[in-house]
Symmetry: C2
Subunit: 234 residues, 2 copies
DNA sequence: TCCCTTGGTGTACGGCGTCCACATTGTTAT
DNA sequence: ATAACAATGTGGACGCCGTACACCAAGGGA
């Protein structure tokens, strides 16, 4: 559910130039290439200008196809936007995972667990700072996040750990409990205040009233927030 | 600065019907009525559908005037939207002020000071819940919030207390310090983590991935957040 | 072989933001 | 009072956008 159909979408645009070789009257492109290309083009548009910049006609232009072709793959512009949002959300999840993976230490090591939580928040804020368009797009269409624990895991042996932002935050907090840092009684629901704080700062400093802060001020606010959160966890 | 030009804008739409009396070829409306009407119409559009629903042509239609007339009062649609955003932000400020005014108690009474802080957060979240369109619009265009203390107060005797959301939050926190609840050493900058938390929850549950929560779940998250913040303040 | 699904094309419509030229008014200077 | 002027509403037009309808070319079963 985290990435419905954006597997190979974000990686190759359809050569930027409108299919520079010959424009074939019939369709010759491999199966699914147009759909993936539209999503990839939409991601680039979103990266540059946020969700409003995901213009259906412009995406088809980038892929080198006529506007109506998009309607063979998406019911309307909103459906394309939803796919782009899913891709953006997946990229946020990936960056967060990369951030926590960079922290060494055992799973039940208290210090490491705390560092992982910090890495999650930092990666989230970093993504919002470095990719404001994608960040705004990721939350522009709420494609039914599984805020409640996902239903029974798939048949696969590995339940394919939840790479969604909320899922990763939960995992970090659970580790904090098993490591003995966080009292189990305080665990239920803490993810929401923490998520709210990090997300709120990202929004306020990204697109909100605090957007014009310079880098040092912004860094100070991030530091302030993480300290506040740590204090809230004892 | 809190409400640049929306003083009398939000209160009377130009009679809804396109100026039902006679449509005069020249202009007969009182000075500034069209501008105020456009802002009021924009506010209603924003209330119903958020910032994207503030459509210039539709606003002129509601006022009963031809689309181009808007360009006598606003450089472009973005300028109209900015005025609407300012009005929405002012309404948020008013509701917050009304919320704190409802709390009785002396200014240096610790309990009352704490209740005022809670009232601020509650009013903020309530506005986001009851007026999602206006809330989203208020933050859609960041018309340079004074996040740093505003410059020297006007010549007026009363410095016209800062009714902006951030200003009111700061006042409440300052009261918490003078009341002895909050250590002065912890005061500098606390407004930002707190604002972030409240704003983040408002966004996540309003337009974000948590939008489909029912009322009780939502109330639980708000409670959780306020408790977390209180804990962060000791 | 036929046909039917898949997916790209062309044309067209209405809505939007915006520009230009024009008309009318209220105000100000003569 | 009258003439000039700034302010403000009107009409028409342009280009872009999302989208609907009709058409048509490939390609894989039956």
């Amino acid at each position: 559910m985290a990435r419905p159909d954006a597997e190979n979408a974000s990686d190759q645009l359809a050569s930027e130039q409108p299919a520079s070789d010959q424009p074939p009257p019939g369709r010759r492109r491999p199966r699914g290439a147009v759909r993936a290309g539209l999503i990839a083009a939409g991601v680039e548009l979103a990266r540059a200008g946020g969700p409003d910049a995901v213009v259906l006609r412009e995406a088809t232009r980038l892929v080198g196809v006529v506007p109506n072709a998009a309607y063979r793959h998406f019911a309307d512009r909103d459906e394309l936007l939803a796919a782009v949002c899913a891709a953006a959300m997946a990229e946020l999840g990936d960056r967060m995972a990369a951030g926590v993976a960079q922290v060494s230490g055992e799973r039940d090591d208290p210090d490491a667990a705390f560092l992982r939580l910090g890495a999650i928040g930092t990666a989230y804020l970093r993504f919002a700072r470095e990719e404001p368009g994608l960040f705004a797009t990721a939350f522009a269409v709420p494609q039914q996040h599984p805020y409640i624990a996902p239903t029974a895991p798939a048949q696969d042996a590995a339940p394919a750990v939840d790479r969604s932002p909320l899922g990763q935050l939960r995992a970090a907090l659970d580790d904090l409990v098993t490591a003995g840092v966080l009292d189990a009684a305080d665990r239920p629901g803490v993810e929401y205040p923490i998520w709210s704080g990090v997300h709120g700062l990202a929004v306020l400093t990204g697109q909100g009233p605090l957007r014009d802060l310079d880098d040092t001020e912004r860094a100070r606010l991030e530091e302030l927030l993480l300290v506040f959160i740590a204090k809230g966890l004892e």
